[in-house]
């Protein structure tokens, strides 16, 4: 059923070239889930080959995997679509290691994939929620740059938040 719906319309194919030269052939409807690509495609006389010097192949591939899933789910007019997307998103971010998460977020932001940025920033937020200051610093490799006493003062003002 799903194959017949895709063959009836001729879709434009785009070539996306990552910083390391890896190329991806993607349907326009999939790639335009990314705001940056959408803007380029909408320009008159745009070419089918788009170079993306700020994203490498590994992360571009992951971003496109997400786009493909969402583009497919959205053409399906099932009522449970939102639920499917949510479930799939959960799976997508579940086992991401921190390094991948960081690069993926940078790639999604660079490509203006608003929904994907939402998903990834929410994932990062969930790693901060309810954590102690020391744990947050450790997770994100942040060094405290407060002068002696400054941090204590902030803590004192909102002591309830540290209970």
């Amino acid at each position: 059923m799903s194959s017949s719906s895709t063959t009836t319309t001729t879709t434009r194919l785009l070539m996306l070239k990552a910083s390391d030269g890896v190329t991806f052939e993607v349907e326009e409807a999939v790639a335009t889930k990314l705001g940056a690509i959408n803007n380029m495609v909408e320009e008159e006389g745009s070419e089918d080959l788009i170079c993306l010097p700020n994203v490498n192949g590994k992360f571009l591939g992951m971003v496109l995997e997400w786009c493909k899933k969402h583009a497919n789910n959205n053409t399906n007019s099932d009522k449970g679509n939102d639920e499917v997307n949510k479930w799939w998103d959960k799976e997508f971010v579940m086992d991401l290691d921190q390094n991948t998460l960081y690069h993926l977020l940078m790639a999604a932001d660079y490509l203006s994939g608003t929904e994907l940025v939402d998903l990834l920033t929410e994932k990062v937020a969930s790693m901060i929620r309810g954590k102690k200051v020391e744990e947050i610093r450790e997770t994100f490799k942040i060094k405290s740059d407060f002068l002696p006493g400054q941090e204590e003062e902030i803590r004192k003002k909102n002591s309830w938040a540290f209970e």
Partner: protein
């Protein structure tokens, strides 16, 4: 990481986690304390309803329930002792800050229950030779919280309007008064109705009950329903027409900000409840009857008899909270057309919508 991405991440946190994040490093601290961040943070929070309870605490207890799941709730206690809830009316709520006034000493408080901050406003100096009454309103405009105080014996004889700004922590007296909207019609008598104010589209709203004398009758008979609006940007009062002339002031049980629209909940005896929504703010023709439901025709929740239920207010996703004379709290879900029990023993004496924030920190 770019600061915009960090801001986006932090804005998704709850207030408690954010207060801790202030201690992580200097750049996070300055980001969290920036005024624009607070609004960004509010936009990510789940809308709630606040129910003021009368459970022995004289109206000090406030129950916060998530609009997404009304069963999910926490309680906060107003930090100051309250002798009687009638003397401490709820003025309104905006961006996570609740405003209460105290009629006995005329003080006004701003309270952010989530981050446990309370601010008492400086006194407003007014001229009045009669024992004044006050009508208060509370809202947020141009990165500032504002409190409006109308001083007077009655609305049409009000003699002073003060506007407080949290930014400057001071009051000023403005020229425009609410009675000016009826200045062409000297025979109008205005009665304030529901004291509690509602903010929609940068305007504070109060329900108004007014009547006009006609030449034929000495005593005015018909009461009319109107909505008094104060535009926080222009500091001008205006009158908003009611949805229909047939609606009388005492038919209105609740005025709410429902998902950004001004809405009224009316009840006709015995149990016909209607919800009106003003789709385009200030445009009288845009009043739409959103829901009309006869509670007599609905199946009662299994654990309840056929008690009378009074509308309290609307949650963001359209559920109508109801209190019954058995002091139980229910809600009506228009989608399923059913009434469900929320809490068996609760007396609600105030309602407002709310969203968690870090304002006043």
């Amino acid at each position: 990481m770019e600061s915009d991405i960090i801001e986006e991440i932090l804005s998704r946190l709850d207030a408690k986690s954010l207060m801790r994040c202030k201690c992580v490093c200097k750049s996070w601290l300055s980001l969290i304390t920036h005024p624009s961040f607070r609004i960004r943070h509010v936009k990510h929070q789940v809308p709630c309803v606040v129910l003021r309870l009368n459970n022995s605490g004289h109206g000090r207890l406030f129950s916060f329930r998530s609009s997404e799941n009304l069963f999910d709730h926490i309680t906060h206690r107003f930090p100051i002792k309250i002798s009687s809830s009638a003397l401490w009316p709820l003025v309104g709520s905006q961006n996570g800050v609740i405003c209460l006034s105290c009629s006995s000493d005329r003080s006004v408080y701003l309270w952010n229950p989530t981050i446990k901050k309370l601010k008492k406003l400086p006194p407003y100096h007014y001229q009045s030779n009669i024992l004044p009454t006050f009508i208060h309103g509370f809202g947020y405009v141009n990165n500032d919280f504002k409190v409006v105080k109308v001083v007077g014996g009655r609305l049409e004889s009000c003699n002073q309007v003060g506007v407080y700004s949290l930014g400057t922590n001071s009051w000023k007296t403005i020229k425009m008064r609410p009675d000016h909207i009826f200045s062409d019609d000297p025979d109008v008598t205005i009665f304030p109705h529901h004291m509690h104010s509602v903010v929609v589209n940068g305007c504070i709203h109060w329900i108004l009950n007014y009547r006009r004398k006609t030449p034929e009758e000495v005593l005015p008979l018909e009461h009319s329903l109107g909505i008094l609006a104060f535009d926080l940007r222009t500091e001008v009062f205006k009158l908003i027409d009611s949805p229909a002339p047939s609606i009388k002031p005492f038919d209105v049980e609740s005025m709410c900000n429902w998902s950004g629209c001004l809405s009224l909940v009316t009840i006709y005896r015995p149990r016909l409840v209607e919800i009106w929504v003003m789709k385009e703010h200030g445009v009288s023709d845009s009043w739409t009857k959103h829901v009309s439901v006869d509670f007599l025709k609905l199946p009662a929740p299994s654990c309840e008899g056929n008690y009378f239920r009074l509308p309290i207010g609307l949650s963001d996703n359209g559920n109508l909270l109801l209190s019954s004379d058995s002091q139980a709290l229910h809600f009506y879900n228009p989608k399923s057309n059913r009434v469900e029990l929320l809490c068996p023993k609760t007396r609600v004496i105030g309602f407002t919508t709310y969203v968690e924030s870090i304002f006043l920190s």
